[in-house]
């Protein structure tokens, strides 16, 4: 649906201080920024946050593994300020603002308080010890601004023996049992790779938590503290597997790409290099359509061994070979369209190039072009959903570190030019890192 609306974005006028890192937290503030919230990222030129704005501040373009892959930088070129050119950051930072302050010093703490008094809340997803060091806790936030909402989203929550256990989404997935199901059949988990779905789930949860906090605040006049463990939140994504264990004591192993209810099902190679299609036969009729109509194999369609789900499960390995024999002669996109036209569940494993070229995404206006300084003009994913009466439209591209310092210090906090210069000289305000030893 292409939105025809023109009214204000729902969160216009809502200001959130963003101390999020890496992915889960920033994804949450991305969604809120997309719908109009003023997200002010609080960064520091004295401290480089690894993975958030790159793996290291000045990576060598010739050593891609040091920089997390030069594929992360436009034209493989880290440039003078690599942290402004890092794909993983820029992918989520559109519509946000960035300011710098060193929260480890008293005058930085003062800036934080002044900002907090004119904000609706704070979102952060750091390991608790990091926030305790700079005294960004609920007690402090609530004291400074009783109407403020705070979302704290450490991987494992703010207490318990894992309180300060640092992880990425891939490790949280391990901890909550994801890889006990995800993996190649009859293989140990070493080839599974890893998934960062915990971050996506956590981001959505954080955005919803803040929205719920806003409503609570409007109702009661009081702020709200919501704590969200990204790992606990992600465990709910394995709800039915958990229930099977709870009800039946069962812990199934790796299913590969198969499914107990559908057969054949798998991911099969197509024409070209690393081209694949996912196919799932969900009924006896779908099998007839696949074998008889699409693959033109009446011998398979009439073979009684394959007429039922049980039979197709029993002969799955054999059927995989028959399907593959057909798919390797097919273009991955054309095969998807042909299979879907015959009511068979199928989808191309879309590489990045497929995603941008996809006619459906284009028809629905899913890609939006934005220009960012030091980066260039690129396409960005649009909003997480379309609203009929509210425009689906980004406002600006990802901010360079410190890009909004003048706006925040002068317009919002009323700093004079002299005070601004003073904070610049003191290493709070800037657009380049001035790292302390050890950072």
């Amino acid at each position: 649906m292409v939105s025809t609306g023109s009214r204000r974005l729902p969160l216009e006028g809502v200001r959130i201080l963003d101390i999020t890192v890496v992915w889960a937290g920033p994804y949450g503030t991305q969604v809120l920024a997309d719908w109009g919230a003023e997200i002010i990222r609080i960064e520091s030129i004295k401290h480089f946050p690894p993975t958030t704005r790159g793996m290291m501040p000045y990576p060598d373009r010739n050593m891609p593994s040091l920089g997390g892959g030069s594929a992360q930088f436009p034209d493989h070129e880290p440039g003078k300020r690599p942290w402004n050119r890092w794909a993983s950051f820029n992918a989520h930072a559109r519509n946000k603002r960035s300011m710098t302050v060193d929260l480890r010093r008293p005058e930085g703490q003062e800036v934080f308080d002044r900002l907090l008094r004119i904000s609706d809340g704070v979102m952060e997803n750091n390991v608790p010890i990091s926030m305790e060091r700079v005294n960004v806790t609920w007690e402090r936030v609530h004291e400074v601004n009783p109407r403020a909402i705070m979302i704290r989203q450490p991987a494992f929550g703010i207490d318990g023996p894992y309180k300060n256990y640092r992880t990425f989404g891939s490790h949280m997935a391990a901890v909550v049992g994801h890889y006990s199901f995800m993996g190649y059949r009859d293989e140990d988990p070493s080839m599974t790779g890893n998934t960062l779905t915990a971050d996506a789930a956590g981001g959505a949860a954080g955005a919803l938590a803040f929205s719920a906090g806003l409503r609570h605040r409007e109702k009661t006049g009081e702020g709200l503290f919501i704590e969200l463990s990204t790992a606990e939140n992600f465990m709910t994504y394995l709800g039915d597997q958990f229930m099977d264990y709870s009800m039946n004591g069962r812990q199934p192993g790796h299913q590969g790409n198969r499914d107990p209810q559908y057969a054949p099902q798998g991911v099969y190679p197509c024409l070209g290099d690393d081209r694949w299609i996912a196919i799932s036969v969900q009924s006896d009729e779908a099998w007839q359509a696949l074998a008889g109509t699409v693959m033109q194999r009446p011998d398979l369609a009439s073979d009684s061994r394959f007429a039922t789900l049980a039979g197709r499960q029993e002969h799955h390995d054999e059927l995989d070979v028959e399907l593959l024999t057909w798919t390797v002669t097919q273009d991955a996109i054309e095969a998807m369209n042909l299979l879907q036209a015959n009511n068979i569940a199928a989808g191309t494993v879309m590489a990045e190039s497929d995603a941008y070229a996809d006619p459906h995404m284009q028809a629905r206006g899913f890609w939006e072009e934005l220009t960012a300084e030091e980066v260039g003009t690129h396409l960005y994913t649009s909003t997480l959903w379309t609203a009929k009466n509210t425009p689906r439209r980004h406002r600006w591209g990802p901010p360079r570190m410190g890009e909004d310092n003048e706006y925040v210090y002068k317009e919002l906090l009323g700093f004079s030019d002299a005070e601004y210069k003073e904070y610049e000289a003191a290493g709070h305000i800037g657009m380049d890192y001035d790292l302390d030893p050890g950072d």
Partner: protein
Amino acid sequence: MTLEPTSIMPLDDVRVIDLTHRTAGPFGTRILGDYGADVIKIERPETGDPTRSMPPFYKDEPGLERSGLFMFLNTNKRSMTLDLKSERGREIVKELVKGAQIVVESFSPGTMDAIGLGYEDLKKINPKLVMTSVSNYGQDGPYRDYIGIELNLYAMGGSMTSSGDVDNEPLKTAGRMVSYHAGYAAALASALGLFQVEFRDADGDYMDVSIFETAMHSIDMRLGRLMGYQYTGHIGTRPGRAVAVGGGVHPCSDGFFLMTGGPRFIPNIIRMIGMEELLEQPEWGTAEGRANPDRIDEFLAHIIPWTLERTKEEVRAACEEFAVLGGPLNTIEDLVNNPQFVARNYFQEIDHPTTGPIKYPGYHNRMHREGVDFPKRRRPPLLGEHTDEVLSEIGLSADAIAALRKDGVV
């Protein structure tokens, strides 16, 4: 508008008419219920939501009140049956919509319009209504009517292209990642729409959630790689086995452990396994040396003997101590005994006539308010358990309800 100032949960004066079924939509309304909304789940008479007939079943015996999938997805909801094919059934939906703030539905695109319950119909009854539709590909576009299931939606929209091993086929993720992410989007779309109505003095809105799009929008691998492709033309591959020195899935005495390697972490890993002398050698003492992928196998020979002597929880504790990133590959059984989740009292025991009290995953968040006890989750409803209750709330007499039941409307 006037709001109840003494309420406990953020959404506890919000009514949601839930016309969703299967997994994505019900996951979304489940979350709204967890935030306190009164979710009225409308199910078709006799058979109910199709997930009632989907595994896993309690003791593996199928039955409408035995599905673990249904139970997981439908806590904190009320269930009423209603035949939407009947004129009277549709009138009752309209009656319910008058007193509701949110409608969430997940029928095939066009279905709600065809039965006279589309957004254009419902907003005439309640201009402040927020209506959210969840569908596989969205309400329009060339794929609108394509079949969508976890597997192919993850292939198309999600990060399957970077999932698994480079020498093998792309690998499906576990669980219902794609559906549930769309469920979150539906809950969030509904909540922001409501915010706009209540606090921005706006009319209602219609939200179109496409599972294909929410997967493509997900920060899971996909988002960074999509941007990286524009930057360099680089097509991402599947990582599979160790991609950096020290990283990979290492065997332990009781399972496996996923560890992140690379030049930044190797010194910490080396200290963790007690081989500090390695750092004095030029090939390990410099970042360049540690980045050399030829060293992957060499380093595995150092680390695997160390991990094999330890349990995965011991390796985890060592990682925390030495600032190494990693995580144990747990099973569900490990989880229910895990010291962290047990200490935080994460799991919830919920009683149900079929299963008796059993463990469920807990709330996805914790609200901290001094002196406020938050309500426990209510068990998943039996099919039509609240039909009479809901109908009497909209003013139907016992006789009128009996007549509806006789006619098969409820």
